[in-house]
């Protein structure tokens, strides 16, 4: 292994900051100093975490070996790191829903999928050939955070079970 620790990857770090001047800059400094390349910063000023702090989402790229050092130096600098990892919506999940999709309010189903299953819908195909009396099918293409397909599927199953819909799941990528 080279000393850069492999190919550069993209990571998302969620922080919470006290709403005081200089806090944000103080949090970003350790990232740059530890060799991380800042890609984007999303400062959710309107939101508050349960502790009354402001959530900040930082996207950065670095070599995998550097990433832990960056998170550590953030914590050493007194920054509260809520979540760290390569968590971007970069995995795809395709499922087919079968059942009385129209009668059970398809748009509500999709809204639930997006909010509860933490997935974003990128494509929808609906096939309802003989009106709403018959069962219809819908193909959903979802983007999920990497490594969370399993969780998203669990949620999807719950949502579908509530509405008596059947989920035709893909085999997981490990099995393809």
């Amino acid at each position: 292994m080279s000393d850069t620790g492999g190919e550069v990857q993209t990571y998302t770090v969620r922080l919470e900051l006290v709403d005081e001047p200089g806090e944000l800059l103080g949090a970003l400094q350790p990232i740059a100093e530890a060799g991380g390349n800042l890609l984007s910063i999303y400062h959710e000023r309107g939101n508050l975490t349960p502790r009354g702090h402001i959530p900040v989402e930082v996207d950065l790229s670095c070599a995998p070996a550097r990433f832990e050092t960056i998170v550590e130096s953030l914590r050493e600098a007194g920054v509260n790191v809520i979540q760290a990892g390569s968590e971007r919506y970069d995995e795809e999940l395709v499922v087919i829903l079968v059942g009385h999709l129209v009668d059970t309010d398809l748009s509500d189903t999709l809204r639930q999928v997006e909010s509860c299953a933490d997935a974003s819908l990128t494509d929808l195909s609906l096939s309802a050939p003989r009106g709403s009396d018959d069962t219809s099918s819908a193909r959903l293409r979802l983007k999920t955070r990497s490594g969370t397909n399993g969780k998203a599927l669990d949620k999807l199953r719950e949502i579908a079970a509530d509405k008596e819909l059947q989920v035709v799941e893909p085999l997981t990528e490990a099995s393809q």
Binding site: V94, V95, I96, V98, G99, S125, S127, A128, P129, D134, T135, S136, S137, A138, R139, R141, Q166, V168, E169, P170, L171, S175, Q176
Partner: protein
């Protein structure tokens, strides 16, 4: 010993084919029984006459079925219909054979899926051994492949192990027809039985994956049908297959055996991938620890096909 003396219990498609093909494999059939009759001859029964009589009169001989189990043989072939729960009378047949220190070869899934632990205990107390290649995937050598690799070198098994359900799904996808139409066609062709419940509800596939899990767990854990999460194909409309096809995929009734358990359900698979076999073909993928993935496919049902698995088990036992 090369040729073995066989007592064949069950005169359905598999039992009859075993009787018919035994001589070709160098074995002698010394007893045949169906549910109401039997024929026993220590020197070997006239297999052709027995099969004719079964076809004409519905019986295999004038003796009592119990005479066959108590008669002279080296290997008992249990090919009676699969039953769930207590798996009787198959389980008792196996027990009687093992109690007499005889080998038993099963084509009946019931005992191996529902009472695996008890079977292995009976085997441990017997000079005889059990083998059951024919219970999983007909002619495909799945269990002997696992045996050769070692169960501890295989981390998961998955695939298509029900030809009827696979036939229906692949016809629905190819012809754009609905389930009911294709089921009727399959029944006309003899691919589906008059009561297709076992096949289309996923129970038959689940039994096979339960057996695979029992073999892969190698005594660490025991599975029965109750442990399997089973979904069938009866609710899959043609539209779902259309939507899958638009995306380069298709739907197959896929079973999975992993250390976490057993499941059978309609799943999305790549249309051009190894798991999307068509017609009545079966396929099993084995994940190995050092050799990647193995795909084994072939004919998973049928009298002569399944009989070849029974007879190779017999040969392994007596060679």
């Amino acid at each position: 010993m090369s040729g073995a003396r066989l007592a064949v219990l069950g005169a359905g498609a598999v039992g009859r084919s075993v009787v018919e093909l035994a001589a070709e494999y160098g074995h002698t059939v010394t007893a045949v029984a169906d549910s109401s009759s039997a024929v026993v001859d220590p020197d070997g029964v006239d297999t052709e006459a027995v099969l004719d009589r079964k076809a004409d009169a519905g019986v295999v001989g004038d003796a009592d079925p119990a005479d066959a189990i108590e008669g002279p043989y080296d290997v008992l072939v249990e090919a009676t219909p699969t039953t769930l729960g207590d798996a009787e009378p198959g389980f008792s047949h196996v027990k009687q054979g093992l109690d007499r220190d005889k080998h038993v070869v099963l084509a009946n899934k019931g005992p191996v899926a529902e009472r695996y632990g008890e079977l292995r205990e009976l085997e441990a107390d017997s000079e005889g051994e059990i083998r059951f290649e024919a219970t999983v995937g007909g002619a495909i050598p799945i269990l002997s492949t696992i045996e050769d690799f070692g169960a501890n070198h295989i981390t998961a098994a998955r695939g298509v192990l029900n030809g009827t359900a696979n036939f229906i799904l692949s016809r629905m996808a190819a012809e754009g027809l609905d389930y009911e139409h294709v089921l009727a066609e399959a029944q006309d062709l003899g691919v589906a039985e008059a009561d297709p419940t076992f096949d289309v509800e996923g129970i038959d596939a689940a039994l096979k994956f339960v057996i695979l899990s029992n073999v892969l767990a190698d005594g660490d854990q025991e599975f029965t049908l109750d442990d399997a999460a089973v979904d069938g194909i009866t609710d899959i409309p043609g539209t779902a297959l259309d939507l899958a096809a638009e995306d380069g995929r298709t739907i197959r009734l896929i079973g999975e055996s992993t250390p976490e358990g057993v499941s059978v359900a309609p799943r999305l698979v790549p249309a051009d991938g190894p798991l999307s076999v068509t017609g009545t073909l079966n396929i099993v993928q084995l994940e190995t620890t050092h050799a990647g993935r193995l795909n084994i496919s072939g004919r998973g049902a049928g009298g002569p096909e399944t009989a070849t698995a029974v007879l190779s088990d017999v040969s392994r036992l007596v060679e």
